[in-house]
Symmetry: D2
Amino acid sequence: MTSDALFGPIFAPGALRAAVSGEAWVRALLDVEAALAAAEAEAGVIAADEAQAVADACAGAPPDPERLGRAGRAGGNPVIPLVAELREAAPAAHCGATSQDVLDSAAMLVARRALAVVLGELDGVAAACAGLAREHRATPMAGRTLLQQAQPITFGLKAAGWLAGVADARAALRAVRLEAQLGGPAGTLAALGDRGPAVLAGLAARLGLAEPALPWHARRGRVAALGSALAVAAGACEKIALDVVLLAQSEVGELAEGGGGGSSSMAHKRNPAAAVRARAAARGARAAAGVLLEAMAAEHERAAGAWHAEWSALSGALAGAGGAAWCVRESLDGLVVDPQRMRANLDALLALAGEDPGLGSADAFIDRALAEAGA
Amino acid sequence: MTSDALFGPIFAPGALRAAVSGEAWVRALLDVEAALAAAEAEAGVIAADEAQAVADACAGAPPDPERLGRAGRAGGNPVIPLVAELREAAPAAHCGATSQDVLDSAAMLVARRALAVVLGELDGVAAACAGLAREHRATPMAGRTLLQQAQPITFGLKAAGWLAGVADARAALRAVRLEAQLGGPAGTLAALGDRGPAVLAGLAARLGLAEPALPWHARRGRVAALGSALAVAAGACEKIALDVVLLAQSEVGELAEGGGGGSSSMAHKRNPAAAVRARAAARGARAAAGVLLEAMAAEHERAAGAWHAEWSALSGALAGAGGAAWCVRESLDGLVVDPQRMRANLDALLALAGEDPGLGSADAFIDRALAEAGA
Amino acid sequence: MTSDALFGPIFAPGALRAAVSGEAWVRALLDVEAALAAAEAEAGVIAADEAQAVADACAGAPPDPERLGRAGRAGGNPVIPLVAELREAAPAAHCGATSQDVLDSAAMLVARRALAVVLGELDGVAAACAGLAREHRATPMAGRTLLQQAQPITFGLKAAGWLAGVADARAALRAVRLEAQLGGPAGTLAALGDRGPAVLAGLAARLGLAEPALPWHARRGRVAALGSALAVAAGACEKIALDVVLLAQSEVGELAEGGGGGSSSMAHKRNPAAAVRARAAARGARAAAGVLLEAMAAEHERAAGAWHAEWSALSGALAGAGGAAWCVRESLDGLVVDPQRMRANLDALLALAGEDPGLGSADAFIDRALAEAGA
Amino acid sequence: MTSDALFGPIFAPGALRAAVSGEAWVRALLDVEAALAAAEAEAGVIAADEAQAVADACAGAPPDPERLGRAGRAGGNPVIPLVAELREAAPAAHCGATSQDVLDSAAMLVARRALAVVLGELDGVAAACAGLAREHRATPMAGRTLLQQAQPITFGLKAAGWLAGVADARAALRAVRLEAQLGGPAGTLAALGDRGPAVLAGLAARLGLAEPALPWHARRGRVAALGSALAVAAGACEKIALDVVLLAQSEVGELAEGGGGGSSSMAHKRNPAAAVRARAAARGARAAAGVLLEAMAAEHERAAGAWHAEWSALSGALAGAGGAAWCVRESLDGLVVDPQRMRANLDALLALAGEDPGLGSADAFIDRALAEAGA
């Protein structure tokens, strides 16, 4: 029911779109409810057969996202109707939890699953950059500053710079700590007596998430930092896409995309369509990161609106960053490099500059970038 | 394939979600192609039966958005495969146009159709505010500044202020000029010879859009201004929602939502869920407006990425602004006002302040706000 | 005490920086206090000699902004200490007003004075664009889409598109309605009895500002809309700067800035430094516009933080938009156009495309753009 | 020449404003030039006495920032005129470097010096939170969700949540890696032959900055990540400020600021002015972070505008984050807690809820938060 049905496939891969889809969120919500029940059974909060009933209910056919969304309108989130349905089959479901416990934990599951796709795409971009850095270590081209030819570089050095940016962003995303959420209505886990920490630990372990020191219902720095790290990753891809688009200009002609996007009206054009798409995808990630930063201003124990804005924004940040990486990877994997044109453009510069300053430490910098990226 | 399937119904009405859906975009694309062919037939660019063939092709079963989106990946937009399909049945389709002509004109159609919903919701909000301003003209309450009780006002004055904000935003949206787009590959309408302006005028007339002085492929100020106007409308709703949420606080207790969002864990709570949802929806509109402003930096005759980022952002700005209005309208339409509690809170202030400064020009200001809003 | 001392002169003209300086704000605050006293004397709220005392106090040496700022820390705004000082000499000062009345009215004065500079710069940009559109009506060049050569245009058509964008943005800024603010502590003008509207009208008239229907302490749509209009103007300039930077690329070589920024290390370079500066300035305006949109979420009768964020943001939006225009004007005024290079690049395109599609309606569009802009 | 002279002292401490001032930037630029010369002398690039001449020139009276800024307009940055002046006294200055080398390295110096202030303020906030968490471990109050009373918590638990947010943000800022910049015109250090890496290492060591694997002229992820980390820190402070403002509401009355901002018109009010100021300061940091994220899209070897937008944005992110912390620290250091009012508000909730769910794991969570924060 959004424009994403039409535009989404252009900017993000199917696996990533699936990972942040309504279905994926519903799946994650059910996974959290099942894990919570299991952790509570282990801690003696509910009985083992009660937990089994929850597990069975969560393993059944998942509810339709649209229907659940409409049912969630009255209470402002989809967990309320989901729990009502679960409890018909398994009355012990959601014991001691609040909606946000389940939604936040599910968000972290969604993030982890989507991040696997994002990181896979970033790995692909990094590998492509490393390949170009090695292959074109000795391919001279004009270095350009303020969009003016400045001094010689090699295409390998440029690719090494791309690699370093992606590797940095990837390292930051790999280091992200995704925590389970469990606090109950006000963050005290009141209904669990003194077994709260045990259930929290059990939930986190079952979900493969980290255990927080205390509930983070209204402490959203980690979510905001995740959003920013995704925006930085998107930015690292955007930089590559920008360079590709510029080097593919008719007058520069040093790069072309192998696929080469056609035109509905001009047969001679070979648009760098994948790089163009990457630039658009990255902007979506940046806008979403802004929403997540603003959401840190959360009232009291659970926020009245800021939190609700996170759900789409987190999905959008993941799709935008991973989409940008996917598009850039496509751009680089089919990249056609024209060393002759690079040489010719460089010669024009050198003729103008009157002397060749040489390549300085270009090679050493390539080696250092490859080493730091582990590539 | 996005989280919107689950979360969308919470934050925007079905009619608005439909108006910005992939299906609606495809419908608009087909409407533009048909109108273009008709205008070109009228101007003698193509034959009448050729135009009829286009009309017939556009009237058939529309292509599936997801399929079209995937097919649009290679070229970076969905018009390229759409035109390819149309031309199989109607070779004269898309004559002299570029993808962006069709997509931009379709975007303005989508905007016009969605704006009708947005404006309808804003009308509802304005009517609710005007009703409250009249009904509670003489209902005293504490005015609060920096969240501290300050001096007496009336609830009618507060509602009059809400009204004025919404009316301003509505007037700005009503004044938006939505223009058809037609420029051909580079904005000259080269393929149309000297009949370009006539076809442009005919296209605009048929679509019910305004005629631009010249193509605006890379002149995106009007799109950005539309996004900002939507964000301002969202902000006017957000302000109301914020006040409702604050006045519904347990310790204040002056307002409550009739629906009253339940809680998955606390039976006694009556959350102002509609106002909370409005606050989240509004943030989406703001983020989208930022993307549209950034998209003004468009390269040369048609941009390489900035434009592509507009499609989702425009849809999001419309959904966010209309969604915020829809949620606030729901909040206000069922609003339960507690004049006794207002009086009691005010008395506490007056006891502290030591004297009653009176209501000054509150009544006059209410009258002026009602008059200016035409309410 | 900010980095602006060093960087400000690079991105905004002195007159504009002065117009949004601390001194200018203090001047405006004093102007408002004097006008308020005069309006109140006229309405019989205070005596004529009391108003004269206020006028005399406001005409004295203005307080140092830094000192006033430090004194305003305790109360959270600089009007509180300013009023305390004024009242020592003129006890009738600030009668019935609240800090925000004075600061908001002063903000509108600052905006009006700075807008005069911004509009002057935009006029200069528009004139330069119109001149180029006329002069290069018959200068063919390659139109470029997705940064690929596409079809012929003329440089005049490109400049006409620039003109249209700037003219639109200028028209929106000219239409901005700047309103005086007067509401007293809670927006009722309680202390003025039934003379509130008369004093408000008198204040507005004296300040040359519009009279609002009712106070707008917590209704910030007009401020947000002003910020957005400034960002749109900045964007219109940014688009021109982007095109200049791209056309000045070594490999394209169709434009150069007359001034031509030097380099600290490369003598042969001629950087399009003014266009580069414009691009940076525009981003500042956009970021500030975002702050102003967010500030619409204002609590109750006067906001607790959102309003306080407006002061710098409004100043920044004005400086950013006017600065972008100033830099672009500088870029265009000294622009060196190379029709031979344009012709050569176009010939390369035409050789590739195989046929010359002609210039279509380029001339007609130039005429229409000039007419619409009144240029 | 900006509004900062008036408004700056309200939102950021003098030491921080000084650390990001034009004077501080000029000082840092000179420090970099001196360190570069020393590193080059050590590597045998220039002679020892040449380096001494540079050191002497840099140790002289620093140029006026405004004058330097004006002189930097033509070239688009202030390093160009600075180097010209230095070279009059010390011709070996700036050998092999480009403007951006010096400005970027200086930016990292400015960041390090300003971060010391920011971290100091965050330490103060963390200490205040830890103190409140310990002191009010057994002070019950109402937990509030969606701004409705929900279940009991303790004020100590709330403060522990604040602490955890600040401690996380502080840890991220402490881990920031600030790298020296040295690449020469195109990132190859061409002029330094094979001594480039040695000079880079020496420069970094002398400046106390980290050594990058390769120049990062157009790889801005670390700058963007720094901006985001500052925005997250600002957000952690904003959350505290929001809670303080809400708990200080007249009707809640559980907290008050000791200082208590006065009002220009209402003697009875005690505004939580420091928390209000914090909320405004934080927004500035967020807006600046957005500019830095956008700046990652940097063209080729050195960007044409994106980089230029960083200078003010970085200064603003530092001032905004540190300013928010400074204001929150002031708010918390003088905080007046009213346990009786907390108790009374909680009793009202418990009467409504019908039963007391107890405090669950509140104490355990406080201990864990204190331990994790090392407090």
